[in-house]
Symmetry: C2
C-alpha cells in the first residue's frame, strides 16, 4: 500500500509475515546502506529471532528497556553514541522494532542523526501498527511533559507483521482496537460495519481480520494526516474520544490503559454529540454496543473523581481559554465540521450541561 506523506509516499506492508519483506525493501531502496536496529527489550525477547533472521548478520541491534521512561533525552543520547561508536554514517537506515515507545524514540533518533537518516518502522503492537507508525510524529518526553521534543518526519516504510500481535497482552491489544474503532467511527462506515460483523475473528486475533483492520485504519490515518500535516484542521478528528480519554487517564494517575480510556471517552463524547443534537440515538447505540462487544469498557472505572476529570479537561492542550473542545460525531463514519478563519474546524467547545451529560453517561 502506498501512502502519501509530507516528504514522499512510503510503503506500508501489513500481514502475517510482513517482516519478511524488509530485506527486499532495503536491498532495492538502500542497496549500499548499513542497517542499525533499535528494539524494545520485551519485543526482542519474544520475537528477536525473527528480526535477526531478516537482517544482515553484522547488524547491531540496540536494546531499549520497555516502558515510557525510555522516551528520554538520556536514552536518545545513548543510542546516538552507540551508532557513532560503530562509525555509522549518513548511509545508515535505522530500523525500529517495538511498540509506540520505540517507533517514537527510534524515529526521532533517525530524524536527527547526522541531520536525518532513513527510518523503517516495524511495529510489534496493534496500537503502534494502526497509530504510532503513521503520521510521522516522533519524539521523547521531558520532565515537563510527554512528547515535548521531537520531529514530524515520515518513515521510509512500515512493516506491520500480525504474527507479533498473537502474543500481546489483552489490554495492549485492546488499546489498538480502540484506536481502530475510533478511526472507523469518525471516518469509515464500511470499516465500522466490517468490524461489527467480524467481532469473533477480531477477538481471536485471526491474521486475516487483523490485516484488514490495520490496513484500513492505516489508510484512514494516512489520508487524514496527508490532508493536514500540521496537526490542525482535519487531524482534529483523530482526537475523538481523546479529550475525555486524556481526562480519565489523568484522573487515574495514568493507571487506566490508553485504549480503555479512549473507549470510555468515545462513549462520553458520543453522548455529548447526541445531547448537542448532532447524533441520532441509533448511531450512538451502535457505537456503544460495538465498544462493549470487542471487550472494551463503557464506563469510567470505580473511584474516578468527576472533579479531577473536569480539572484535567480545562488544562487539555487543545483547550482554548480553559474550555475543552470535542470532536462531534454526526453519524457512524462522519464527524461534524464547521468553517473557521482560514480553514475548517472539527472540534467544538460545548455548554457545561452537554459535557455534564457525557460524564453521566460513563457513570461520573
Amino acid at each position: 500500500m502506498e501512502t502519501p506523506g509530507q516528504d514522499a509516499s512510503y510503503e506500508i506492508v501489513v500481514g502475517a509475515g510482513a517482516l519478511q519483506n524488509l530485506p527486499g525493501f532495503l536491498r532495492e531502496r538502500y542497496p549500499d546502506h548499513r542497517i542499525a536496529a533499535i528494539g524494545d527489550g520485551e519485543a526482542l525477547r519474544r520475537h528477536g529471532a525473527r528480526l535477526r533472521g531478516v537482517l544482515p548478520e553484522e547488524t547491531p541491534v540496540l536494546e531499549v528497556p520497555p516502558g515510557e521512561e525510555s522516551k528520554s533525552r538520556a536514552r536518545k543520547e545513548r543510542l546516538e553514541d552507540a551508532l557513532f561508536a560503530r562509525r555509522l554514517g549518513r548511509d545508515t537506515v535505522v530500523v525500529g522494532f517495538g511498540g509506540g515507545v520505540v517507533t517514537d524514540l527510534a524515529g526521532f533518533v533517525a530524524a536527527t542523526y547526522l541531520r536525518g537518516v532513513p527510518f523503517v518502522a516495524c511495529p510489534t503492537t496493534l496500537l503502534a501498527a494502526v497509530d504510532a507508525s503513521v503520521g510521522g510524529k516522533t519524539g521523547i518526553n521531558t520532565p515537563h511533559g510527554k512528547n515535548l521534543i521531537g520531529a514530524i518526519r515520515q518513515p521510509a516504510a512500515v512493516f506491520a507483521d500480525t504474527r507479533f500481535l498473537e502474543t500481546l497482552p489483552e489490554p495492549e491489544f485492546l488499546s489498538g482496537v480502540a484506536e481502530a474503532l475510533k478511526m472507523a467511527a469518525t471516518s469509515d462506515p464500511d470499516l465500522f460495519g466490517e468490524i461489527e460483523r467480524g467481532i469473533p475473528t477480531l477477538r481471536a486475533r485471526e491474521a486475516a481480520a487483523l490485516t484488514r483492520l490495520i490496513a484500513a485504519a492505516v489508510r484512514i490515518k494516512a489520508a487524514v494526516v496527508s490532508a493536514d500535516e500540521q496537526e490542525s484542521g482535519l487531524r482534529e478528528v483523530l482526537n475523538f474520544g481523546h479529550t475525555i480519554g486524556h481526562g480519565l487517564e489523568n484522573a487515574t494517575g495514568y493507571v487506566l490503559a490508553h485504549g480503555a480510556a479512549v473507549a470510555v471517552g468515545m462513549i462520553a463524547e458520543s453522548r455529548m454529540a447526541l445531547r448537542a443534537g448532532f447524533l441520532k440515538p441509533a448511531a450512538e447505540d451502535r457505537l456503544h454496543s460495538l465498544i462493549g462487544s470487542v471487550g472494551l469498557p463503557v464506563r469510567a472505572p470505580d473511584g474516578v473523581e468527576r472533579g479531577r476529570v473536569l480539572t484535567a479537561l480545562r488544562s487539555d492542550k487543545k483547550a482554548r481559554g480553559g474550555r475543552p473542545r470535542f470532536v462531534m460525531l454526526e453519524d457512524i463514519g462522519r464527524v461534524r465540521d464547521r468553517d473557521r478563519q482560514g480553514g475548517t474546524a472539527y472540534s467544538y467547545p460545548l455548554p457545561a450541561e452537554v459535557v455534564d451529560a457525557g460524564l453521566r453517561a460513563i457513570g461520573l
Copy 2:
C-alpha cells in the same frame, strides 16, 4: 528577497537596519505568537539593545556563551527547559541572534521544540549572514564530532543587518568574505567582477557593499541548496576550497581561522584544477589576486606539516575509499560537472601528483 526552500519560500532582508523589519514580519505572519530570543553573549553585549528594541518587552532573551562549545546537547536541553519553564507552546517563534553557533543551535532548538516551531535567524556575523542562515542546516556537536546531531529545516525568515558587521573582529569578517568569494568563484562571474572592482568599499565595510555582497551570496547559496536539498549533487560546489581548507584546520589544531583556511584552500584547489587541465592560468591569477587583495592569506601558515594535511585529507568525510574529492573550477564563476549514476557529480578524485601541485602552490 524571496528564497525557495524545502518547505516553503522564506524572506531574507539584508541591509543597514534590516532588523527593524522584524516586528512587522512577526506581526503579519505570526500575529498571535509569543517570541523567545536566543542570543550569543558577545552579540548581546554589543548589540542587545537593538535586539530588545524590536521585541515585545516581555520577550525572554536567553543568553548563550560565545564559542563552539555552546553547540552541545547540554546547552540545547537547558534552552528547551527555559522555554518550557515559561510555558511557551506551539504558538512560539524562536529568534536566533548571533553567529553561526547561535543560528545552528537556536535553529535546532526550534526544529524539535514541541516537534517544531518557527525560527527566525538574525545573523550578526558576515559568515552567518552569507552561509549559516541559508540552507536550513541546524545542529549541535557531540564528543564524536561536529554537527553530528541536527535537522535540515528552513527558517521562517532571515534578517541580516549590516550594522552589526561594523564591529566584527577582522578575522571573523574575513571568514565571511572568504565564503562569499567562494560562491562568486564557483557560481557567479558577475559577482566576482563586482567584488574585484569594489575592494576598498568592501574592506571599509561600507553598508552598500556589504548589502550587495550578502544578497548575492545568499541568492547563490539558496539556488544551490534549493536545487539540491539533500547535500549531494550541486551542493558539492559549496565545498570548493574546503577539502584542503579542512585539512589545514585539522593540521593546525583548528587555530587557523575558517576563512583563512578556505582562502588558502581555494588557492591550492584552483592550482589543482589548472594542473588537471580544467582551468586556464588567467582565471587562476584572477582568483589568487582577489583573495590576496581582500586581505586573506594565499599560503599555508608557517609550521604546518604537509604530512598532517595529507592524513586529514584521507579521512575527509567526502573521501571515498581514502581518496579525497575536489571541486574543479573551470573558469571564474563555473565548476566542472560530470555524469554519475543517478545524477550529476561536481567533485573529483585526483591523481597524487595533482594534489601535490596544489599543496606546493600554498608552500607545502
